[in-house]
Each structure stands twice: as C-alpha cells, then as structure tokens.
Amino acid sequence: MNLKSLKEQIIEKTIFLCGVTSVLFVVLIFIFLAKEGFALFKTVHPADFLTGRRWYPISDPPQFGILPLILGSLYVTFGATLISVPIGVASAVYISEIASSRVREVLKSGIELLAAIPSVVLGFIGITTLVPFMRNALNLPTGLTAFSGSLMLAFMAMPTIVSIAEDAITAVPKKYKEAALALGATHWQAIWRVVLRAASSGIVAAIMLGIGRVIGETMAVMMVTGNASRMPTSLFLPVRTLTATVAAEMGETVQGSAHYHALFAIGIVLFVITFIINLIADWAVHRKSK
C-alpha cells in the first residue's frame, strides 16, 4: 500500500471539507431562516409585513409592519455612510500617497486597533458621553437618536473602509502617477484624477463592505438609537433598526409563535439587504478586470 498517496488523499479530503463547510453553513443558515421566516406569511401578507407602519408584535391582534424598522436601519446606515466614507477614503489617500513611512505605520496600526474595539464598548462609551452631549448641544428631547447610532457605526465602518481602500490605492501601478506628474500635473491632480480613478473599483468595494458592516451591527445601535418603532422623519429622532428588534425580542418569544416567525422574517430581509450590498461590491471589483 502506498502510504504517501494515502496521506495525500487524507490531506486532500480534509482541505476539501474545510472548503465546503463555509458554503454549506451559508446554505443551511438560509434554509433555516427560510423555513422559520416564511411560516409567517401563512398568516400575514408579505406586502403588509414589508409596508405596514405599526410594529406591535404581542398585541391582540398583533401588528407586524416592519417599514419603520427598515427605514430605521436605512437612516442609521445612511448617516454612518455620510460620515465614514469621506473620512475613510481621505485617510486611505493620506496613508498610501502622502504620509511618510513612519507616520503610515503608526496610522495603520491605529486603525487596526480601532477595528479591535468590541461594539458593546463603543455603545457604552456612546451612551455615557455622546448621548448626553448630543441632547445638550443640539437641544434635542433625547440624545438617543439615529444620528448617535450613525456616529458610533461610522467608527466601526472606518477601519474596513480605510484598510481596503488603502490596499486598492497602493495597488495602482506607480507608473500611472509618475506619468501624470511627468505631464505636468500637480500632486493633488495626480491623486484625484489618476490614482483615485484607477482605484475606484476597489474603493467602491471598500465602501460597500463598510456599509455591510454597518447594517448588520446590533449591539451599539441598540444601546444608542432609542428603539422607538415610529416612522423616522429626521436623523435626530429615535429610531429602531431591524437588527436591534431581533436582538431585543428574540430572547423571550414563544417558539413557533407568529412573533417568533416574524423575527426570522426580519432575518430574511436583513439577509437580502446584505446580499445585495455584497453583490454590488463584487460587481465593482470585477468590473475592473474586464
């Protein structure tokens, strides 16, 4: 018997298994979500679920309208994107194009450190410092608002955006920039018109992954957004997000009840949203290679 080939075989199989498990888990998670979530639509029409404006899951009769929750998630994500994208891309440009190698090392490790802060810690800092500050500074009824959530989430999305965008910018061939400078462009013109253009697909991917991180975040959001399931009309009012709803209510629902299925249906909605975001990111990356 050939021991060597047996060993090869075993190693091959093991690696194969590792490779398929992650795909398998995604499929299984989706099957489980679908099985539990779609059960809701036996009693509630999907259109009522998606466009209903009232979320009173344990009232009699219960009302499962998640439009305020979807909008809540979108408001918080929109605010976070507005804050984190300009800052994130700008710091990626600075790190890869302008900073000296010493400054670059310090900044890069600082940003990695930011990524390592657990979200519950950020939420806690937010609730003790940011929330009272926002209320006093802007004279709001309460500091627990969508904007507070956006600020916290911007901190969380920043490391993803900076590090991927920085990779994309660094990957732009040096000769592009050199050629631009040789043609008489200033440093800024070379960065803005040549390097950023060339790296645009990577930067879009960075932004999309950052947004994906933001929309799925739960803990910090639940702590600082106030969780009121009212139709949001302003960034400076309390909102309730999809993720916070699932996290807050899953613990004590009766298994198999309509409320339980509704929470899984929210999971499906979140899954679809992140799927679309990843699809866009993927499309952005592959657009370049054509």
Partner: protein, 298 residues
Amino acid sequence: MPFKIPQHRRILCSLFICVLSLTSCSRKGAGDSKSGGHDSIQIKGSDTMVNLGQAWSEEFMREFPNTFVAVTGGGSGTGIAALIAGTCDIAESSRKMKEKEFAEARQNGIEPVELQVALDGLAVVVNPQNPVERLTIDQLADIFTGKIRNWREVGGEDRPIVLLSREVNSGTHVYFKERVLRHGDDKRKEEFDEGALLMPSSQAIADEIAQNPNTIGYYGMGYSNPTQKLLAIAKDKNSPYHEPTIENVMKGDYYISRPLLMYTNGQPKEIVKKFLDFVLSEEGQKVVRAVDFVPLTK
C-alpha cells in the same frame, strides 16, 4: 479521477443531513411528567413569575441537591387549572383565584391554600430636576399613549415628554400596559405610543432618566436610587396620592402593584413545605429583589 465526484457528494450529503437533523431537533418542554417521587415539585402558572420561580428553584436545588423543582409558565389561569386537575404541586398566580375556580377545585377534591410570596410594584420615575411630583392614572395613561406630549400639561416645565418603556416581551411592559394604559380592563385596546423608546433593561431606563430631564419611565420598585425621582400616584382625581413604598404596596394603597401568590392543595407538606419555607426565608426574599420584584419584608 472521475470516481471522486460521487464520494464528495456522499460526504456533502451526510454532513448536510447531520447538521439538518441537529437544527430541526425540537426542544421538548419540561413539566409533562407528573410529579412522581417525594423529592420533585411541579410548579406551573403566571408568566410574570416564571423567572422568579426559576430563580427560587435554582437556589433551592443548590441548597438541597437531592431535590428537583420544575417551573413552567403559561399564565396564571393555566397554573390554577393545573392545580385543580392535580397535575402540579404549586400554582403560581399574579391574581387571586376566582370563586368559580374555588368551586371547581372543591368538586375535584382539591382544597387550594393561598400564600403570598412576593409583591410586584412598578415605580413611575422622572429626573430629579423635573418639578412634577405626582400624577393620576388617567394622566399617566394619556402620557404613555401619546395624548399628552408636553410636561406643561401636567403642571411641569415647558419640555417635550420622552417616554421610556421596557421591551414588548418584558412582563413589566405588559403589566404596565394592562394596569395603567388600559386601567386594568382587558377589553380596552390602548397601546404605548409608537414614539416610546423601548429600552433593553431597567438599568438602561434608569441611566437615561438620570441624565435627561425630559424623560418619564417605569421599572420594578427595587430599582430606584437617588438619581431618579419616584412619583406619587393616585387612582383618579378624587383619590389620595400614594408613594411607591413597600409599606404602601403591602397595604394595597399603591395602585400599580399586586401581590404574587402561590396556591397549594391543602396545607403544604414535606418537600413542598420545605420549598415554601425557603421562599419565605430571608434568603428566598433576597432572590425576589434580585429579579426585580418587591420582597415581603425589608
């Protein structure tokens, strides 16, 4: 090597089935078995009291390792029905048994004995800077359903009212809704205003109240501390106001409170007596405070 493909499929399939069977494995509720030996107790009833009952049973089983106490919910009515049917040893109830239920029990040869084990009292809380000291239940109901939106309307400063509530699944949320918003009438349909902030814990409510003078919230009486102010409550305009104190709750004067009860068949004996003695002991009452209810003694 074409022979490899079916093998891969087999591995995939078996893994698939394995994980699938794991996820679909249904959980079976406890409490199906009837209380058999002398060393096990079946407790059933009030959903409000499930956590309390479980906390007691855990402590009790730690102290007496050869015993087993199973606690299940379902509602006060379910617990009392089970006691009448003889399928539980202790029924937990957040309301008194009705005359009709007593009659049914006697017909079945069951003699329910009532024991008060703890109190459930909710304090209505505002920031100490807020000049409002007291409210009637009608005012409270109007505030929490969103009819009153400014403190000026109830004798306070010109400030918007920010409502703080617990999550919908919390027993506290449900009790406050039934007792205050619906005035204890289960035919009424009032709901919390949708602008109410649903906070993940009593602590989160306490923290927000401590730093924001616009807020009003409620939580178990055991939670209060000097950074919040407790309001005196009157049943209606013509009734006296009462502070949420343990004495007032015990006398039955404070409106947003109720006794938590346990019913047994006849005077408790053996292990059931041992358990109830533990519940009423100093240690048992410490557990009451730990899960946010009001102990019978200080």
